[in-house]
């Protein structure tokens, strides 16, 4: 069979290579189609589209719900963690403040006791007191 390859410019020089390629192309499609048509093959159902559509929507809804729930849970979890961390920090600050306060009280008490128990050194004992003070300083 001669194919009408030169359709738009019919009458021009024949392109034998193109003609042969198109002829082979046609034969290959015919052979493929015949082979597929006569081959026992599982039929596809038209009705499956509705089933697949429903399954697709269901899966999509589950994924969307999962994403939203996961996001909310993560947000809530982070808030809880932040609260715990803030409480711990506040407790730590409080503890430091208590310690500082207790230390200051002790120092005040010691200063008061020191002040109460110390007496004026007699002038005769002053050189000895100076020497003791120097020793302590060293």
């Amino acid at each position: 069979m001669r194919l009408r390859t030169g359709l738009p410019d019919e009458g021009s020089e024949p392109d034998a290579k193109l003609e042969q390629a198109l002829k082979d192309f046609r034969s290959s499609i015919h052979a493929w189609s015949e082979a597929e048509y006569s081959r026992p093959h599982a039929a596809t159902a038209i009705h499956h589209t509705s089933w697949r559509l429903a399954a697709g929507w269901a899966l999509g809804c589950v994924l969307a719900a999962g994403s939203v729930t996961g996001g909310l849970y993560e947000r809530h979890h982070r808030q809880e963690v932040a609260k715990i961390a803030a409480a711990a920090e506040a407790a730590r600050q409080q503890k430091i403040a208590d310690e500082q306060s207790a230390r200051k009280d002790d120092e005040d008490l010691l200063a008061k006791v020191d002040n109460d128990v110390s007496r004026q050194v007699p002038s005769a004992m002053e050189p000895l007191a100076q020497m003791m003070a120097e020793d302590e300083a060293q």
Partner: protein, 236 residues
């Protein structure tokens, strides 16, 4: 894609059964309607006339069903082949062929014979294919993969004839180049090209099937051939 464990022959009969079932249902419905009318008419003459009309309508419907069945038998392979060449997907081509004949059956009474049955069926097939790709673009997530065979595999189906192994190999390469060029064509160019060079349709038939003018068909064919020629020259 969901498969039913039904052999192809049964698949072909599946469409026939649906068509035959619909046809029988229509005939029975007409008979029932006529019987009701007979009861209402009350006179014997009217009853005879109505019964005869019903019988005539029934015979007409059966004749139409037989006619459609013969059209299906005659044109199903060509429609399948065209869709297979257009999509390179066996499952999709089967599904679209099935849908094409179901749609044709639903509209069989509207077929006026202005074009050949083959042209009319081809037009339905082209529209179904177009709709399929349009829907696919919109619902890409529904089918994430395509079943189309690759170009090399499609080129394997070349009858050996009386060629040597080397000639056969070269011919396959040429066919692969043509497939490559067809892949690069626009949808309209591809349809026109396949109808012309695979289905061997006349320009007027292609114009009717695609809804284009003959001039436009010629222009598309010309551009398609230029691309095929360029592909063959570029790769050789």
């Amino acid at each position: 894609m969901l498969k039913w464990g039904v052999p192809r022959r049964s698949w072909c009969e599946y469409t026939d059964r649906i068509i035959a079932g619909n046809q029988t249902a229509i005939v029975n419905s007409r008979r029932k309607q006529a019987s009701t009318r007979v009861m209402a008419a009350g006179t014997l003459m009217e009853a005879i006339t109505t019964a005869a009309a019903v019988e005539f309508a029934g015979r007409e419907m059966e004749a139409a069903a037989q006619e459609f069945s013969s059209v299906v038998q005659a044109h199903r392979p060509q429609i399948f082949r065209f869709l297979l060449a257009s999509t390179r997907d066996v499952d999709l081509a089967e599904t679209l062929t099935q849908e094409c004949f179901l749609k044709a059956h639903r509209n069989w009474d509207r077929f006026r014979g202005e074009s050949s049955a083959m042209t009319w069926l081809m037009r339905i097939a082209i529209n179904l294919e177009k709709d399929h790709w349009r829907n696919r673009r919109m619902q890409f997530w529904r089918h994430t993969r395509t079943n189309s065979v690759d170009l090399d595999e499609a080129s394997e189906w070349l009858p050996s004839g009386e060629r040597s192994a080397e000639q056969q190999m070269m011919a396959r390469e040429q066919v692969a180049h043509v497939w490559q060029a067809v892949e690069g064509l626009s949808a309209r160019q591809r349809t026109v090209f396949l109808l012309r060079y695979v289905e061997d349709r006349e320009l007027s038939e292609i114009a009717q099937a695609t809804g284009l003018s003959e001039g436009t068909v010629k222009a598309h064919l010309s551009r398609a051939l230029v691309k095929v020629r360029a592909e063959l020259k570029g790769k050789s």
